[in-house]
């Protein structure tokens, strides 16, 4: 085979032509244009769906009968909860003028994607409507007999059902002063400021004797009398360890308890209604004492009857639960 310039050039050209332009992108530039902001959905995007209020949606549910929504309906509400401080977990709540509902999204760090006061559209067809302890929720069809709805949890399903709208105006919490407003479950799932509360000096918490699931529960406060030394909103792992150190001797049942984050219910009275303020042991403000934290402007809620708390109203089996978002809503007049 005789060598010549022509065949050589051909060979070199062949080499170059084997390469593809696309893969040289990062090679030559290393720079990427910043992505577009998310698309902001508006009512126009749901023109072919039927809008229902959250109260109407909740009314579709009958106790004990969860179901998959077949109708092409949607709800629109503003996000009123925030899981950045750890007191909400895997769910967020949206409310419109009529009511509020829990969306069991399933992911953590939901506040990164669904901001407080942001309008959210939820296309309900394909989602499941059910309740837990009397609190109606939107989730996914559940195969677990213990729960009427399951967490949605799969990004694809979320992206096909939950849509971000514009940022709305700051939600004004509904001022609740009448115990009947609580006992008649008027504002479930909505942001409320309950005023005129007094500390009931009662507590309820469940410890475990082993750091495993299915460990034995150790109940503290079942008889609904006394604070049993739990004088913070909840107990973080460190807080729990300190508490056990001090109180193991006083409460024999705690002898085997292991230090771990503990959810605590602190009780407040509003007239005849009892508000159970339930705080997660994983929340950042778990160890803040009820007597307050002057550095952070948190007042003492244990004295007097003019405590005002802001949070989301929920229900669990006849107990009216209240979930704080953070401690900025804790006020004493």
């Amino acid at each position: 085979m005789k060598f010549n310039i022509f065949s050589l050039t051909l060979a070199v050209a062949a080499v170059f032509s084997l390469s593809s332009c696309e893969e040289f992108g990062p090679v030559f530039t290393g720079k990427y244009a910043e992505p577009e902001p998310y698309r902001v959905y508006t009512d126009a995007d749901f023109a072919d769906c039927k809008l229902v209020t959250i109260a109407e949606l909740k009314a579709m549910y009958t106790s004990g009968k969860p179901f998959n929504i077949e109708e092409d309906i949607y709800i629109k509400g503003q996000v009123n909860s925030c899981d950045s401080l750890g007191n909400f977990y895997r769910s967020f709540y949206i409310q419109d003028e009529t009511s509020g509902i829990e969306i069991k999204a399933g992911k953590t760090g939901l506040y990164n994607n669904y901001k407080r006061n942001q309008w959210i559209y939820v296309k309900c067809k394909g989602l499941a409507l059910g309740a837990y302890g009397g609190m109606v929720q939107l989730g996914y069809e559940s195969l677990d007999p213990q729960y009427e709805t399951a967490y949605i949890d799969v990004q694809l399903i979320l992206d096909n059902h939950v849509f971000r709208g514009e940022m709305g105006p700051k939600i004004e919490p509904i001022v609740v002063t009448d115990p009947a407003d609580i006992t008649e479950m008027k504002y479930l799932g909505m942001l409320c400021t309950v005023e005129g509360l007094s500390y009931a000096d009662e507590v309820f918490a469940i410890f475990h004797d082993d750091a495993m699931p299915e460990a034995n529960n150790i109940y503290v406060g079942e008889e609904h009398v006394g604070n049993h030394g739990i004088r913070s909103w909840a107990l973080s792992e460190t807080g729990c360890a300190e508490y056990l150190e001090e109180w193991k001797s006083n409460i024999p049942a705690l002898a085997d308890a292991v230090p771990e984050p503990i959810n605590v219910s602190q009780y407040f009275d509003l007239g005849s209604a009892v508000l159970q303020v339930r705080t997660s042991g994983y929340s950042r403000f778990a160890d803040t004492p009820l007597t307050g934290d002057p550095d952070k402007g948190v007042p003492d809620v244990t004295k007097g009857s003019n405590v005002s708390l802001t949070g989301v109203m929920t229900i669990y089996n006849d107990n009216f639960q209240f979930t704080l978002i953070d401690l900025s809503g804790v006020k004493v007049k």
């Binding site: 593809s20 893969e23 990427y32 902001p37 953590t108 760090g109 799969v154 990004q155």
Partner: protein
């Protein structure tokens, strides 16, 4: 008349002196080493101490004859176009010596072993390392074949780790001061500049140090060492990078004593198999050398290899099956229509080498070398704070997180979600398979603080390991007598490396806050404990730093290593016998120097740690016996080596604590070899053995039973390697055709029960204190009934069927290659080879081999659990077929142009696992009696791929 007779006598005597013919001479036939093809027009030059004495050219049939040589010692050089120059020592004693064949090594373009083949896999901080050993192309018949042919399966020579290979540059051992790894990446892309090297295999001794037990490679690296001439090549391949351009020029030693050399190259583009892996690399090398009166030589070389390379991640088989490809890479995503890889290596570590050589006589040589290495070594990754894990194959995104068939997983309720997740993966809805850069940026856009600035939740960090490494070396060689050669030297190394990380890209945000989010999860209410830089926090009134692009954050510390060595070699040679003895002693010390005060460990993070000190030594001896074309040789050595910095601190990113039980690694190694080389036949058989004791290893991972990141410091890891290496080349009756083969049959097992100390990263609390890892060395396999259940004896105890040993992972312990090569007289070469690999094992996770993991949450051991948790995975054996073809043309004896083309894995075998690792997490079970393992992650070898190289030399 008397006067005339006197003049005549003188004249005749003078004439006789001139015309006297000597009976001595040399004859033979010049042939190519491969296939004994005769080489015509080879130039043979005979010289002695005074200079050139005779010169001739070989005939068309390769034969030559030089006559009339006075008795004495000569050296004959044989040069021919297309072959490497051969040198033959001649001793003429009054007759014509018949050399029969003078074999020349063809100067083929061996496929250069690019360090791209060993691009380390991204082990996702799982705590594993997998760096194969590199075999440089050498004249050894086994190394030659295995070196290149086995590289695609990441073969480790004799199963030894990368750090066991001593790699020298200009006589200075340059293995990484912190990890011990061979530093191929420093001259990555400089194939021409580093081509000339001296190598020895196994436990043999070298001329530039005692060496270890896995061979020594000394890259000469000076300007005069580089082959004279200009070379240029263009290469394209489908498995590493699309395009490589390389050029080099060396003057060789000029008449004025100067020598200059330069080598540049670039490697660009991606490949046909793994998306997201790309190269944007350059390399440069410049050297100058001056020879002063043949007595002094001064050489300076400066080189560097600025590399940018996208990395590949291994995934679980579940993910590969969902995506439909074993080559899925989870490290990248689409941005702006382009592939953007989150894990990119970006290194530039230039090296300067200054060497002085003093050779006053040909019996004595002294050289002194100074090497300085500096630069930047960066590996980028995604970092995030209090936001969903951005990795697409994060376990919570997979169907297996939602649903598992076996009821005991307690995952049967989210079956619908599992179906949706599977669909999203299979059809790549919503870009599920890739990093969603759009989402990451948007989370940052929407993360506004009270001032309206965007606080990034996702960033791209760059983890830096910036070295400053100074090596000073002195070496001397003295031919003490007829039989003895003494060599010795001293070496000092000073290394200070800064480990830190910086923000590379805020991904659409304005700043990132420098706190430890894992500490925050556990100690969220304590602002002190979450600080990465406590001093900054206090100095700024209780605020953590808001870092921006280029700012350091996270951790920042120096690793300091000082190492001094003294060594001596004694070589004895008499007749057919050679023997050597060598010894080395050294002192190695290292310490950590923290530059920031960590909130979790305020008293143990800033400033100097305790100093670790070790006395090290090595001793070797060996002998060899030559008889005609046979050679038998054996070596034995004992090595007491210091541990490396990277395995000696429990958690170097957070604190100054040294790992417990730090001790030197002790290795006993021996090899016995037989080699034969004649007339194109070449064989080498080796039996090798090594017992490596007291290794340490450090792993950091998330332990689900503790709900925390933990550090696992293992010590007392022993291995025993034993095996046989066989390499051969046999010419066939057909001219130009030969059979070439290589075989390694090894058995590398763990031989001890190591101890482990497990600490919680966030608090330093000790979970396991010097506890045993009982199932590391082996596990039992129990007899089974026909229905698959475990057979028990009359007491209900499980019956052991056999004890299953555990093997050194990530290399085929059985590897063999058999090929047919053809070489034509007009420089055409072609070959085909078939390879078989077996005895490949997966890297083990020590956690799965503890009692805690095997016994399960109930603390009760069962035979089933032991087999399930502790058995090491073995990969199935694989066949690979390769072929190559190439041709060279020589124009006017001066210009050489050619190409070589190689097609690898012709059968497109996509099932060969080259490595992987067990994940470290455990899954609880419903009945609480046992744990389940997370799926392991694997790396697969590419399917069919090609390499085409076109080169020019003049």
């Amino acid at each position: 008349m008397k006067k005339f007779l006197a003049i005549l006598t003188v004249a005749l005597t003078a004439l006789q002196a001139f015309a006297q013919s000597y009976p001595g001479g040399v004859t033979g036939k010049v042939v190519s080493r491969s296939g004994r093809v005769p080489v015509a027009k080879a130039e043979l030059v005979v010289s002695n101490a005074d200079g050139q004495v005779a010169k001739t050219m070989s005939a068309d049939d390769g034969t030559f004859l030089i006559e009339n040589l006075p008795d004495g010692d000569y050296s004959m050089t044989v040069t021919a176009v297309g072959f490497t120059t051969a040198r033959v020592n001649l001793s003429i004693e009054g007759f014509v010596r018949d050399l029969i064949f003078v074999s020349l090594q063809p100067e083929e373009i061996l496929m250069d072993i690019d360090d791209a083949s060993f691009a380390d896999f991204d082990m996702d901080d799982a705590g594993y390392q997998d760096v194969p050993t590199v075999l440089s192309s050498s004249s050894d018949v086994f190394d030659n074949t295995a070196g290149y042919k086995f590289s695609q399966v990441r073969f480790k020579l004799r199963g030894y780790e990368s750090g066991t290979q001593d790699v020298y540059l200009s006589g200075v051992r340059l293995n990484d001061a912190l990890t011990g790894y061979a530093p191929w990446s420093l001259w990555s892309g400089l194939n021409e500049a580093t081509r000339e090297k001296e190598t020895v295999t196994g436990t043999a001794v070298s001329d530039f140090g005692v060496g270890g037990y896995n061979g020594v490679s000394n890259i000469l690296g000076t300007a005069s060492a580089m082959r004279k001439g200009a070379r240029f090549s263009v290469l394209t391949n489908s498995s590493f990078y699309r395009l490589r351009l390389m050029g080099s020029y060396a003057t060789g030693e000029l008449d004025n004593g100067w020598a200059f050399a330069a080598n540049v190259s670039t490697r660009l583009g991606g490949n046909d198999w793994i998306q997201g892996v790309y190269y944007r690399s350059f390399a440069y090398y410049l050297a100058a050398e001056k020879n002063f009166f043949d007595t002094h030589r001064l050489s300076l070389a400066i080189f560097g290899s600025p590399v940018q390379r996208g990395a590949q991640n291994g995934s679980t088989q579940e993910v590969y099956d969902l995506v439909g490809s074993n080559y899925y890479n989870s490290n990248w995503g689409w941005q702006d229509g382009k592939i953007r890889n989150a894990r990119v290596r970006n290194n530039h570590e230039p090296v300067a080498v200054l060497k002085y050589t003093f050779t006053p006589t040909d019996k004595f040589m002294l050289d002194a070398t100074l090497i300085y290495r500096t630069g930047r070594n960066e590996y980028s990754a995604l970092d995030w704070y209090d936001a969903p894990d951005p990795r697409p194959d994060y376990y919570r995104n997979l169907p297996s997180y939602f649903y598992m068939e076996e009821a005991n997983y307690s995952k049967r309720d989210a079956e619908y979600q599992a179906g949706w997740a599977a669909e999203a993966w299979m059809y790549n809805y919503d870009n599920t398979q890739h990093i969603n850069w759009d989402r990451l940026y948007n989370v940052n856009y929407n993360s506004k603080d009270a001032d309206g600035l965007r606080r990034s939740k996702y960033v791209q960090e760059g983890r830096r390991t910036d070295q400053n490494d100074i090596n000073a070396n002195v070496r001397a060689r003295w031919n003490a007598g007829k039989y003895l050669t003494l060599q010795g030297g001293a070496n000092f190394r000073w290394n200070r490396t800064e480990y830190y990380k910086i923000i590379k890209d805020l991904l659409g945000g304005d700043y990132y806050i420098n706190i430890d989010q894992f500490a925050e999860r556990d100690f969220g209410t304590d602002p002190i404990k979450i600080q990465n830089d406590l001093q900054y926090y206090i100095a700024h009134g209780g605020q953590a730093e808001k870092v921006k692009v280029g700012d350091k954050y996270g951790y920042d510390y120096y690793a300091n290593v000082r190492d001094a060595k003294l060594w001596a070699n004694l070589n004895f040679e008499m007749g057919n016998w050679k023997a050597f003895a060598a010894a080395e002693g050294g002192y190695n010390t290292f310490w950590r120097d923290g530059l920031v005060q960590k909130g979790l460990f305020p008293d143990n993070s800033l400033g100097k740690s305790e100093t670790a000190q070790f006395f090290t030594y090595r001793a070797k001896a060996g002998a060899s016996w030559n008889y005609k074309s046979h050679r038998v040789y054996a070596n034995v050595g004992y090595f007491n080596d210091a541990p490396y910095f990277t395995e000696s601190f429990v958690s170097p990113r957070t604190r100054n604590t040294l790992a417990p039980n730090l001790t030197t690694q002790k290795t006993l190694s021996a090899d016995i070899n037989y080699a034969f080389s004649k007339n194109g036949y070449r064989v080498r058989v080796t039996g090798y053995y090594a017992n490596i004791a007291d290794q340490t290893d450090l792993m950091s991972f998330y332990d689900d039973s503790q709900n925390s990141f933990t550090n696992f410091a293992m010590s007392g890891i022993d291995e025993r390697h034993i095996g046989v290496e066989l390499g051969f080349e046999i010419p066939l009756p057909v001219t130009g055709l030969s059979i070439q083969g290589a075989l390694n049959w090894g058995d590398y097992v763990y031989t001890s029960t190591p101890r482990v100390t497990q600490t919680i990263d966030n608090s330093g609390d000790i979970i396991l204190n010097n506890a045993q890892v009982p199932y590391w060395i082996s596990n039992n396999i129990y007899k089974r009934n026909d229905d698959g259940s475990i057979m028990t004896d009359e007491n209900g105890k499980a019956i052991v069927d056999r004890v299953q040993k555990h093997y050194v992972p990530s290399t085929p312990q059985f590897a063999t290659s058999l090929g047919l090569n053809y070489r034509s007289p007009d420089y055409l070469f072609a070959g085909i080879d078939i390879q078989y690999f077996d005895k490949m094992y997966l890297d083990m996770n020590p956690l799965y081999r503890t009692d805690m993991a095997v016994m399960g949450p109930d603390g009760i051991w069962t035979a089933e659990e032991e087999e399930y948790m502790a058995t090491q995975e073995q990969f199935s054996p694989q066949w690979i077929l390769n072929a190559n073809i190439g041709k060279s043309w020589y124009i006017q004896r001066k210009y050489n142009i050619g190409f070589s083309f190689e097609l690898r894995n012709i059968l497109n075998n996509k099932m060969l696992k080259t490595g992987g690792y067990e994940q470290t997490r455990l899954i609880d079970s419903e009945n609480n009696e046992r744990y389940y393992k997370f799926d392991s992650r694997y790396f697969y070898m590419y399917g069919i791929n090609y390499m085409l190289n076109i080169y020019f030399r003049f």
